[in-house]
Amino acid sequence: MEEELGAMLQRGPHIIECILRTLSARELHRVSRVCRAWQKYAALLLKERRRRIVMMAVTKQKQRTSHAVIVDNPDTKRFLRDLDMECRLAIMFLTGPRPSYAYSSPVATPSLSANMNFKTMHSYLTSSSTLFGAVCSSGIIGTSSDGSYHEQQQSAVDCMDAILVPKLLPEGTRMSQFSLSLTRAKELAKSELDRATLAQTLQWPKDQVIKCVILVSSQFVPSQVDRKLLSAIRGLHDGQVALAGGVADEVYSSACVKPALVGLVFGGENVRATSLVIGQDDRTKESVRERLAELKANVEAWGKCRQKFGFMFAWCGRGCTLFEADNVVAGAFKELMPNIPLTGMFSLGEYGWDFPLPLAQSAEKPKSSDVTLLRGTTSFAVVGFV
C-alpha cells in the first residue's frame, strides 16, 4: 500500500521546512500559494531571514560584464536571496572616461556608455527597485567581496562598485533616497528652505530625526545650491547630523530623468552615524591614521552593531599622487576598521563635516553659514544599525 505523498508531507512538517529553507525569498513568496501550511512556513522563514539584514558593497574591476559579476557573484546572490523583495536600492559608483562635453554644456545626463551601464545594472534588479549612482572619471573606492579595499584612480576605466540595500531594514532604522533635477535644485536655492521643505526634498518624514546624509552631486550644480542645502542640513537638530558626499562628473537615478543631485538619508532610533573630514593638512599616512582613529573611536562608542558601512569621498588629488602609494587612505581605514565595507569615489569637491565634534570644540555651536563645498579633503561617514 502506497501512502499518499501529500499526507506523508503533512505528517512530517520538518521536511517541508527543510525543503523550503533552501529556497530563495522570491521562491518562498511564490510557493506560499501552494497551500496554507506552506504559506505558514514560508512566512516564518522569511521573518527569520529578515532579522539578519545586511548591506553589502561589491567592487569589480575591469571586467567586461561587471554588472553581471556584481549581481552574479555568490555573495551577492546569497545576499539577494535573503532579501525579501531583492534589492530596494543599489548605489553604484562607476569610473569612465571624462565626458567630452564636461566643461562645455551643463547637461546632467550621463554619457551614453555610462547610461548603458546603469540600464544594464538596473535590469538585474526588480523593477520596483531604485538604482542611483555617479560617474566619476577620477576613480572609485570600494571593498571587494574578498575583503580587500581598493582605490581605483584615473587609469581605471570600467570599474564599478555598488552597495545593495535590502527592501526591509531592521527595526528602528530608516533610510530614504532622493534625487533632484537641476531645475528643482535651483528653485530650492532661491526658496526659503525651511524644515518642512527640506524634509520634503529629502523624502523624509518631517517629524523624524535625521542622523546622516550622503550627498552626491554633478559638477553642474551651482555653488549657491550646495550652500543652501548644506546649511539647511546643518541647521537640523542643532547640527547633530553626519554628512559626507562629493561631486561627480555626472549622477544617475532611475527615479528622475535628469538628476543633478542624489542622496541618501538615514535615521531612526537604532541608527548611529558619524562623519569626518580629513583636511589639507593631513598629507601623510600617519596623520591620516590619526584622524581615522577619531572616526574609529566614534564608531566604537556605539557598542554592538548589527551592521556598519562606510562612505568615502576623496578629492581627486588625494590618492596615489599625494601619498606616493596606492590605497593609503582606504588601506588605513581597513586596518582600523576591518569589518566595515567602504564605498565611494574620487570627487571634484567634497561635502562633509566632523560629527560628532570633539568635546573641546562642541561648546561652540557650529555656524550654519560657513558650510560650503570643500576641496582637497577626504570626507568619510560611517553608519551603523544597532
Binding site: G6, G12, I19, E27, C305
Partner: protein, 177 residues
C-alpha cells in the same frame, strides 16, 4: 555490528557496522542509553521504516560512515567580530555530492520512495541525508509553477478561490522569472 529491522511483516533485518549506524542521531542516542547491553544480539526495530527504505538508508550510512563529522560552528572570540553578525547562524549552502546524486531515487516513479527516504532520515535524525534530499526537492520545485509543485507533491490546494486570487496578486512580482 548492529541489526536493524524494518516495519514489514515479517521484518527484514539488516546488519550494519556500528560506526555507520551512528550517523543516525536517534540510534546513536539509543545505543548510548543502552550501554552495557549486548546490542550485537538485539535487533533494533524501526517502526516507521519499510524494507526498501531501510535498504537505502543502510546503503547511504555505509557509504558515508567515514565522512568527517559535521563541523560545529566555531565561536570566534574576536574583538572585531561584532560586525560579523554574531547571531548570523545561517546554514551553509548544501551541495549534493556526486555519489549522493546517483544514490537519491530521483526518477519520477520513485517519488514516493524519495519522500519515504526523507521521512526516514528525519525520523532517524540523519541530518546530512535529510539536507541533501531536501535540497534536491527544493532545486526540483524552484522555477516551477505553483500548480506543478502541488501536482508533484500531491498537495491539496486548501485556499478558497478568492483567497488564492488575492494572494496571487500580492506575490505577482515573484512570478516573473
Amino acid at each position: 555490528m548492529i541489526q536493524l529491522c524494518s516495519n514489514d511483516d515479517p521484518p527484514v533485518s539488516f546488519t550494519v557496522p556500528r560506526k555507520a549506524v551512528e550517523l543516525s542521531k536517534t540510534i546513536k542516542t539509543m545505543l548510548e542509553d543502552l550501554e552495557g547491553f549486548d546490542m550485537e544480539q538485539t535487533p533494533i526495530p524501526l517502526p516507521n521504516v519499510d524494507a526498501p527504505t531501510l535498504e537505502l538508508i543502510v546503503k547511504w550510512v555505509e557509504q558515508h560512515q567515514d565522512d568527517p563529522p559535521p563541523v560545529e560552528k566555531p565561536r570566534v572570540e574576536d574583538d572585531d567580530s561584532d560586525d560579523s553578525d554574531a547571531d548570523d547562524d545561517q546554514e551553509p549552502e548544501v551541495v549534493i555530492p556526486e555519489w549522493d546524486k546517483k544514490f537519491l531515487p530521483t526518477d519520477d516513479e520513485q517519488k514516493n520512495q524519495l519522500f519515504k527516504l526523507l521521512n526516514a532520515a528525519n525520523y532517524l535524525e540523519i541530518k546530512p541525508l535529510l539536507d541533501i534530499g531536501c535540497k534536491y526537492v527544493a532545486d526540483k520545485i524552484s522555477g516551477q509553477t505553483v500548480e506543478w509543485v502541488r501536482d508533484y507533491l500531491n498537495m491539496e490546494n486548501d485556499y478558497t478561490p478568492e483567497e488564492e486570487a488575492k494572494l496571487k496578486e500580492e506575490i505577482a512580482w515573484a512570478e516573473g522569472l
